[in-house]
Symmetry: C2
Subunit: 213 residues, 2 copies
DNA sequence: TAACCTACCAAACACTTGTTAGGGAAGGAC
DNA sequence: GTCCTTCCCTAACAAGTGTTTGGTAGGTTA
């Protein structure tokens, strides 16, 4: 492709100034967009609101992004990529089922700490987004997610470390939901660190809240 | 108020035909509106979509309702009224803390069974709605809700039936969220009844998923 | 029959939405 | 200096939004 057909002007690597400065601004804008999306909801968020928060006008956003939807896509893709980096590390570590569950939960709360806005958006909008083929990667991620959790739970039941009398699928949903909805009330810098929340949550899920006799 | 100033024509009780027929239609329309709101999100739902599902034109909805927002308000009010009917019955029954928790959870899943759409809407939109004074009743309900759950948990800790080493507020959030997010995947008429889901959920929350030794 | 009411339709309204086109100021490259 | 690129602004567009107004078919009442 000798003749660039893309709208964004091509810059040779040699000339590019302050390499990555443009991408830094891009990330900055995505950060504020994610926060507005998370707070007001994707549909209720106008590009003018995003521009306001970024200190610019609506049209100027289109110098950096193709569309409002592509901003949303990039936010979710970035989040899921990092999430699976962490998950895969855990899943490939060869841990036992209980240790895997503990590590997955802890990793999840760390992701909430890092990507609070993206998680909140994912929670609220993913259900309607998966229908669009543009966001098909959400469905694929969901399948991998379910597979990872279900197999961990099933491994635990087989190894007699998790109870056998519970519906595994139901348990999966409870665990999954409770972990991720934390994004709706979690505030970074609060009195509980992600690890502390994970510890208490695991204690509750594994041993229950009732006193043992 | 001898002279009616309302837009909707006043009908004397004596003449009213098929008493409550209008209100039945009203409920019917709110039912379909709630389903569309739950499926697509409130902001993404246009009055034309609601009218489509109801087999009429957008403008015709305004014969029955003042605005799109008033439809949302009535949906949520109806749901919360019924919810608190059930909750108050439980809370006034003079049960012990563990029995109260069990009854509250079971009642919650029953409400999800009855008002699936309204619960889903509440979950998704309440956070943004409470800011508007029109929806101030949501904030009041949230306060009562938190008080009911927290006091039950604290009673349980004081009576040594619930563990004392858990952060009560954190426990409350986990219990609350896990119960209500069930509305996002629950389908009435599925293989699990509300009572069965409540039973399994309570078993998990109270005793944990780990095998005891 | 005549009057009236209910529940809807048809058509438009003012406004907001995401998006685009053209321009221009600032600053580095040569 | 001149050129060129970056990054934003101004101003508009077309489509879609919630809502209103006036009308009307069909049933009910008197």
């Amino acid at each position: 492709m000798p003749v660039p057909t893309k709208k964004k002007p091509q810059v040779t690597a040699a000339r590019r100034p302050a390499a990555g400065a443009a991408q830094a601004r891009r990330r900055e804008l995505l950060e504020t967009a994610a926060e507005v999306f998370a707070e007001q909801g994707y549909n209720a968020t106008t590009v003018r609101k995003i521009a306001d928060h970024a200190g610019m006008l609506a049209g100027s956003l289109y110098y950096h992004f193709d569309s409002k939807e592509s901003m949303l896509e990039e936010i979710l893709r970035t989040f899921l990529d990092e999430l699976w980096d962490g998950y895969d590390t855990v899943l490939d570590a060869g841990l036992g089922p209980r240790e895997t569950l503990e590590a997955l939960v802890t990793e999840s709360f760390r992701e909430i700490d890092r990507h609070r806005a993206a998680v909140a958006i994912y929670q609220k909008e993913s259900k309607q987004l998966v229908a669009q083929e543009r966001f098909g990667f959400l469905a694929e991620s969901q399948r991998r997610f379910e597979k990872a959790w279900l197999s961990t739970l099933e491994r635990g039941v087989a190894a007699h470390v998790f109870r056998a009398d519970l519906d595994v699928r139901l348990t999966y949903r409870f665990v999954r939901d409770t972990v991720w909805v934390a994004a709706s009330w979690y505030r970074p810098g609060g009195q509980h660190s992600p690890e502390e929340i994970a510890r208490q949550y695991l204690s509750m899920v594994l041993d229950g809240i009732a006193v043992r006799e």
